[in-house]
């Protein structure tokens, strides 16, 4: 009996909120799409009842706000029912975006760690580079995504790489900040202890600083992977891109295909959530092996 | 016959933890009369802090009744019947010392002029005059604790509850503060409940010493002190003092050998 109560305490509130959100979604769909429904009826010189209007709002082709089941149907149609290699398949588009994300994320993490190590061990690097790293984030890099794509295309670098570069730029910052904090996190006592053992700086790094920075690293990786995904999506917007979730978003908005927009968006959301969850799992396994309690 | 200001009747408190129930307090019966200085002493886990917190309505008992000023503990708390001093000063860093002392006065609705007067008065009592515009981090640990005591004295409450307030301070500062506390007690005539780890401190300050023992938390013995109320630190070398101290020590030893 207690176990059921505990489970409900944990899941109940989230479940209720999700239920409420779904209800609000349906209500808003009716509300927003009603104008079009009444419009259609007026032009056909027919008057429709309230319930007829409601059912119409649920099946419009270009609704202002698609109802949840319309979006689910569209997602189902373009993932399960389409061949994975088809240009209409959301899985295919998702993979295009995902590959750029993962590549950029890998580059960004590597760059971030290298910069962090440099900043922690070289005072001149700390003083010259760190302020610029922070400033770089106040510059809206996403804004120059179009330019980066065009420039790289002009020198013959196209397709996956330019998007990966944008993703790399977005994900390196959380990694630098997190790693610097993490590498500096051992307290003075622990560092002094290494000195009493005459440990060289490299040993101190591998055996003390690096392990201490793991929790910080994983927190940054979660932020970084989400940022990479955003970078890849925005990287698909310029030059009338034809492939990827961002391209689907753009195409949908050009042609007023709202259901397409929403299904691409939900797909991107699921992708983001899965990536963060995967990192969470890796984090738990790694930290548990290292003996750190989460 | 003095009225009973704080009374506990068959008081029990059990905490449910992952390792099973913890009997923090069991069948506590206690009467504290007006104007007494009562110390609670015992090893870790004997429930002395828990008892103080129950009196302050910061914990709820699972059984039994506690009455403060003839009201339930919750009512007494809403009537602002007592001032509480914690182990750490708990001063709000965004307020000056004066601002911190004004905090309860603002909440309880004293007017601005009265607030100012009380702050000056109470800072003088703890010998911190002139520090009202300083911030907590600019003061030493001992001074912060004095400020926190001043804060508890600022409003009109007949009862003062103190939970190991001098535990984190060094011996010299501690002695000095003990003396000041006694003087305060003499001047203000409040009823004071004081939790401590230190036998000399308990014997020096109190009119009544409650010795407690753990697992389950209970009162082993109540020792009345017949030392004169106007004492100085020298009394710690007197025969009467050492007598009472050894009574306390024996009782504590008995409690710990029961395990």
């Amino acid at each position: 009996m207690n176990k059921i109560r505990d489970f409900w305490n944990l899941v109940g509130p989230v479940f209720t909120i999700l239920l409420i959100i779904t209800a609000i979604w349906y209500a808003s769909a009716v509300w927003l799409n009603s104008a079009w429904a009444y419009d259609k009826a007026k032009r056909a010189n027919v008057s429709i009842s309230f319930s007829e209007m409601v059912s119409d709002t649920m099946i419009q082709e270009k609704p202002l706000l698609p109802s949840p089941h319309q979006v689910i149907k569209e997602i189902y149609k373009t993932t399960v029912l389409k061949k994975v290699t088809s240009k209409r398949s959301l899985i295919w588009h998702g993979w295009i975006t995902l590959s750029a994300t993962l590549l950029g994320f890998a580059f960004g993490t590597a760059l971030g760690i290298i910069l962090a190590v440099g900043i922690v061990f070289s005072k001149s690097m700390d003083m010259s580079v760190m302020p610029w790293v922070i400033t770089s984030q106040t510059i809206p890099i996403l804004a120059i995504a179009p330019m980066i794509i065009v420039v790289l295309n002009a020198v013959g670098v196209s397709g996956l790489l330019p998007k990966a570069i944008i993703s790399m730029y977005l994900s390196f910052f959380p990694v630098v900040v997190g790693m610097v904090k993490g590498l500096r996190s051992p307290d003075q006592m622990q560092l002094d202890q290494m000195r009493t053992w005459s440990a060289p700086k490299t040993t101190s790094f591998w055996k003390l600083r690096l392990p201490s920075s793991m929790p910080y690293l994983f927190a940054s990786l979660k932020i970084g992977v989400a940022a990479s995904l955003v970078g890849a999506i925005v990287g698909e917007l310029p030059t009338g891109a034809v492939a990827g979730l961002g391209a689907r978003l753009l195409a949908g908005s050009y042609y007023g295909q709202t259901i397409q927009i929403w299904s691409a968006l939900i797909c991107a959301a699921i992708l983001a959530a899965s990536l963060v969850a995967v990192i969470g799992v890796i984090e738990r396994i790694t930290l548990r092996k290292m003996g750190i309690q989460i | 016959m003095n009225e009973s200001v704080i009374s506990a009747n068959n008081l029990s408190l059990t905490f449910e933890t992952n390792d099973g129930p913890v009997h923090a307090l069991q069948d506590i019966n206690l009467d504290i009369e007006k104007g007494e200085f009562v110390s609670f002493i015992g090893p870790s886990g004997c429930g002395k802090t828990t008892l103080l917190r129950v009196i302050a309505d910061l914990e709820t008992p699972t059984k039994g009744v506690v009455k403060v000023n003839d009201m339930s503990a919750s009512q007494a708390r809403m009537e602002r019947a007592y001032g509480y001093v914690f182990q750490a000063a708990g001063l709000y860093p965004w307020r000056t010392i004066g601002g911190n002392i004004k905090l309860p006065l603002e909440i309880m609705g004293y007017d601005k002029l009265e607030q100012k007067e009380r702050v000056t008065q109470v800072l003088e009592l703890v010998e911190l005059s002139g520090f009202d515009k300083k911030f907590p981090w600019q003061l030493s640990g001992g001074m912060q604790q004095r400020a926190s005591i001043a804060r508890a004295l600022a409003f009109d409450a007949d009862i003062l509850l103190m939970d190991e307030p001098f535990g984190a301070l060094d011996e010299i500062v501690r002695d000095h503060l003990n003396e000041q506390l006694l003087k305060l007690w003499a001047t203000t005539k409040k009823t004071i409940g004081f939790v401590t780890h230190s036998i000399p401190e308990a014997v020096f300050l109190s009119s009544k010493i409650v010795v407690m023992s753990p697992r389950p938390g209970r009162i082993s013995k109540i020792i009345n002190s017949n030392l004169p109320s106007d004492r100085t630190l020298e009394i710690r070398d007197s025969k009467e003092f050492l007598d009472i101290a050894s009574q306390v020590r024996d009782e504590l030893r008995k409690g710990s050998s029961d395990e």
């Binding site: 909120i17 001149s124 310029p238 709202t258 | 302050a56 910061l58």
Partner: protein
């Protein structure tokens, strides 16, 4: 080639100067000089490489050309700035942060909301919110209102998460003290929870300054009247006049840094008592 060599030489010299400067006792002036020299050396490198390797200005204009274009287009840059930053980003920022703040206070009061809304909020904060831009353009039209709406959505969740964390940040003794004073809910909120939450709230406010600017600019890629920083960037990219693009970026960088800096300044004043400000 002389361009390239002299640029490299200058960079190396400045780097060596920086290494020496880093060894001197740190003071405010040195702390500003070192990164300034570093930034300047990068600009020199950039100019030198572009000229030396004869890189086409269509691909990468040298800093000098950008400066010229910048000073020549001040009126256009100003119009774009007002449209994107002041109308879009700033209004969205204020609405989003205030809404998040009120929601956080409500969540703090209700345990049910805390356990239900927070996990959902944490989840949404990690999603590519920028994807909502086309939808919001469709609902609110091409003008700055849709951009403000995007900013509201982007700013709301990080601000909510930070504020809720802040409202929980008071320590046990401070909280118990309030109970012993018999303080009411509002007294507790105003005198303890809110001041204690300020460091977290400002952390959120600072993060959201960058999110606001990015949201406003990128959402213009999805549709905009013929002005605005995002609009200008995408059209000038199409025309391959990249010096104008870099000029717009400069404006964006200046605006972003100034906005962030303003928040940091206010933070210093409000949270003067926090250990991180007292170093």
């Amino acid at each position: 080639m002389t361009w390239v060599f002299s640029a490299l030489l200058t960079w190396i010299v400045l780097w060596l100067i920086n290494i020496q400067l880093a060894k001197i006792e740190a003071n405010r002036f040195i702390n500003l000089l070192v990164p300034a020299l570093f930034g300047f050396s990068i600009l020199i490198l950039w100019e030198g490489f572009v000229r030396g390797f004869n890189i086409s200005p269509i691909l990468l204009p040298p800093p000098s050309a950008i400066a010229v274009r910048f000073s020549g287009s001040l009126s256009i840059l100003w119009i774009d700035f007002v449209q994107t930053f002041i109308k879009g980003a700033l209004s969205g920022y204020m609405i989003g942060c205030i809404a998040a703040f009120i929601t956080a206070v409500a969540v703090d009061k209700s345990n049910f909301l805390k356990r239900g809304l927070l996990p959902v909020g944490n989840f949404v904060a990690a999603l590519p919110i920028i994807g909502m831009a086309p939808i919001l353009v469709m609902w609110f039209g091409f003008d700055w209102h849709s951009k403000a709406a995007v900013v509201v959505v982007m700013v709301f969740f990080p601000m909510l998460v930070n504020t809720v964390a802040g409202l929980n940040a008071k320590d046990n003794i401070q909280h118990d003290l309030m109970k012993t004073y018999g303080a009411s809910y509002w007294q507790n909120l105003l005198k303890l929870s809110l001041p204690a939450a300020m460091p977290f709230i400002f952390n959120g406010l600072k993060i959201c300054t960058t999110l606001a600017l990015i949201g406003a600019i990128v959402s213009e890629f999805f549709g905009s009247p013929t002005r605005g920083m995002g609009f200008r960037i995408s059209t000038e990219v199409g025309r391959l006049s990249l010096d104008m693009v870099w000029a717009e970026i400069t404006v964006a960088a200046l605006a972003g840094s100034a906005f962030y800096g303003l928040m940091a300044l206010i933070e210093k004043g409000v949270t003067f008592w926090h250990p991180s400000q007292r170093k």
